[in-house]
Symmetry: C2
Subunit: 471 residues, 2 copies
Amino acid sequence: MNENTQQLIAQLRSIVGDAGLVTAAEEQASYVKDWLNKWHGRVAVVVRPADTAQTAEVVRLCHRTHTPIVTQGGNTGMSGGATPDDSGAQVILSTTRMNRIRAVDPINNTMTVDAGVILAHAQDAARAAGRYFPLSLGAEGSCTIGGNLATNAGGIAVLRFGNMRELALGLEVVLPDGRIWNGLRGLRKDNTGYDLRDLFIGSEGSLGVITGAVLKLFSQPHARATAWVGCDSLAQLAELLARTRARCGDRLVAFEMMSAASLALVLQHVTDTRAPLAQPARYNALIELADTEDLGLQAMLEELLGQAMEDVLVNDAMLCTNGTQAAALWKIREGISQAQVRAGKLIKHDIALPISAIAEFVEQAERMIAACELQAEIINFGHLGDGNLHFNVMIPLSSSYEEVQQATLQLNRLVHDLVTEKQGSISAEHGVGQLRRDELRHYKSPLEMELMLRIKQAFDPNLIMNPGKLL
Amino acid sequence: MNENTQQLIAQLRSIVGDAGLVTAAEEQASYVKDWLNKWHGRVAVVVRPADTAQTAEVVRLCHRTHTPIVTQGGNTGMSGGATPDDSGAQVILSTTRMNRIRAVDPINNTMTVDAGVILAHAQDAARAAGRYFPLSLGAEGSCTIGGNLATNAGGIAVLRFGNMRELALGLEVVLPDGRIWNGLRGLRKDNTGYDLRDLFIGSEGSLGVITGAVLKLFSQPHARATAWVGCDSLAQLAELLARTRARCGDRLVAFEMMSAASLALVLQHVTDTRAPLAQPARYNALIELADTEDLGLQAMLEELLGQAMEDVLVNDAMLCTNGTQAAALWKIREGISQAQVRAGKLIKHDIALPISAIAEFVEQAERMIAACELQAEIINFGHLGDGNLHFNVMIPLSSSYEEVQQATLQLNRLVHDLVTEKQGSISAEHGVGQLRRDELRHYKSPLEMELMLRIKQAFDPNLIMNPGKLL
């Protein structure tokens, strides 16, 4: 450790105390790599401020000393956005000690929280006040609200409630020079100038450190109806989605798609799962309706699916009659990630498309991938209601590192070219981070890259906020 | 007309042709003043490009010649944001010839439109495709989608559907140097860098010219239930709102508030209106539920209000049994603007507050205004469900210009100080424009002003886009 680093640590200690520093290498281990064990780095130190004031002092010091900051929440990201580089010059600023629910206001339907609050705790706090915070995703037991904001997290309730962007009303942010922007507004309407809030949301730690947020709350759902359907084509599923929205309106909260291969993989690799339908279908969907009270939700879904079967839009359907059955269906949906890892090496794509373009996209992509002769299997699943596919390609577990790298380059180009042609997005909900930074540069228009760089320059002229990520 | 102006007009003519220019003073008259006849200006010329390419050429020319541009849609704004200054040096860029519905995609639930499309036409196009575009406001027969975006318009459906910001997925913008940013994405998820879209939305023409947009569509409502309630206090109304949301969830689409004075004013000045309740109440609310189909909407509202009366939260209620009755209630709500103008001179406030702070705010503001001894009457109404009050103060019609100016300064300071103390907004939905520019500077933190100016500088370094507005 050189003298500058020693001095930096001493100064940080004077701000956050011993409790706020992680200096031993073995204690830093869980911070400097991501949970997928895909990215690794080194840091000068991990600093864990106790509150916004300490965060501001830490950032001020880093600003003065030109020390790069990697802000980290629950460290559950998929794209390496919170992993430092391997220079040892960066500092991880962990928000995990800032974990207070600052206020819950059931009359205003808002909640003010520290950025380090774990998503599940935020959900609990809303529930305790008779309200509902709808963001929900696999990592909710570990990920933080700050991380959800920095990556504009999606998940399984976007169809009805939107991404994290739509769920936040106000932010508190420590700017790259250490000043605090208090934008903690709990207002549904506020037209007083440029939308700074939405600039920080989704900026992946590159414009400042989010330290607090005002979140929207909703009415608690007290009734649910869940079904599984099998179809021959994605065009049929898209048509069923449109019908379901038209008929059920806001009751539709999930419309999750799984290809036959995705389902087969789960049934093979995840214990206690069984096929929901007697005959396998090329495409499956898990459909869920919810409402504040039950005015015949089950009957509505039954009638809708009955009609769809009559119209030969759906081959078969299973309607859950209790929560246990619904949980079993969700277990299948949520088992895909785990099953994939066990079955092969993965080249992942997190793409979004206009829903009307999905069927054609998949058909073309499948044909082109088949032509690559890669021993590849396509594991296609995702949030059809949001147009978001996790269009993953699995190659044999025995593939070498080089083979994976080679296939990744080839398939990313193929898939992302086609996505771009269909006016889709190459990064729907997992963020850009390190994983898709080069892809972003490749596909964004030079004009849009220029505008983004001008914003970066305007906010962080010393480029100390999460360098090497996103841009 | 000086030589430079003549040359500019000649160059503009070569871009847009004669059909795209308004040069005669009498024809310019409706462009250079606002519809309230409150702001007046002069221009070198009004230019009306036919499409995005022409708009880009016009802006490129203005960029080269440092000609300031005031972009104008339907010219229905409340804050003078689209009225030029009186130098005669500015150019109005009217979007009204760009009025094509470019595409409607019912499967993706989106619609792509030119910026000059009139809001009502956009609503019609959605309806014709079996879908619903929810933005709704008084000027919908004249205002344009571009203006709605530039001001992040609100209106009567924000409670359920959000402001214009929440209703737009993608934008096409001509930047201040004339380059075209194509951000016309119809995606629900797209995390590929900074949120440029939301920077342009609400920027009041100061960062570029919005020429097109992708809008979200929703399911058509096929059932409605409407009621009028009278209460003793705003705290009771806020409690009723919270109960209604919890019980009815997304069915609640409007919760509009009117004070006794607002209602009395309408009954006095608007023909064919009558009091909905036998006994006048201190506060009234118009409540509307909507659903894609009728599963007992009326019964739900009846039960809710019956319980509220039992709990002495509501004094009296009138539940509409048909559309004619509902239309009569909406006529009262929408008659306030007209009634106010007939009854007195107005000092308007367009404020937002956390809903939980509204009752206390109004009580304190009323007390403080009474102490001013101004012969003032408070006309308090608005979108309670959004925390948005049009907290207007009426002084006698006979007041002189100087008296109005004097009262405006005094009351703005009083009301906006109190709004700021309660963490509200001094500009909820009508925009800043010229009207509240000085107020914005007075109340925004210097840090936030600095960040906004840095953004302005990054996008429009020559400061040609709508100078003198917003910032």
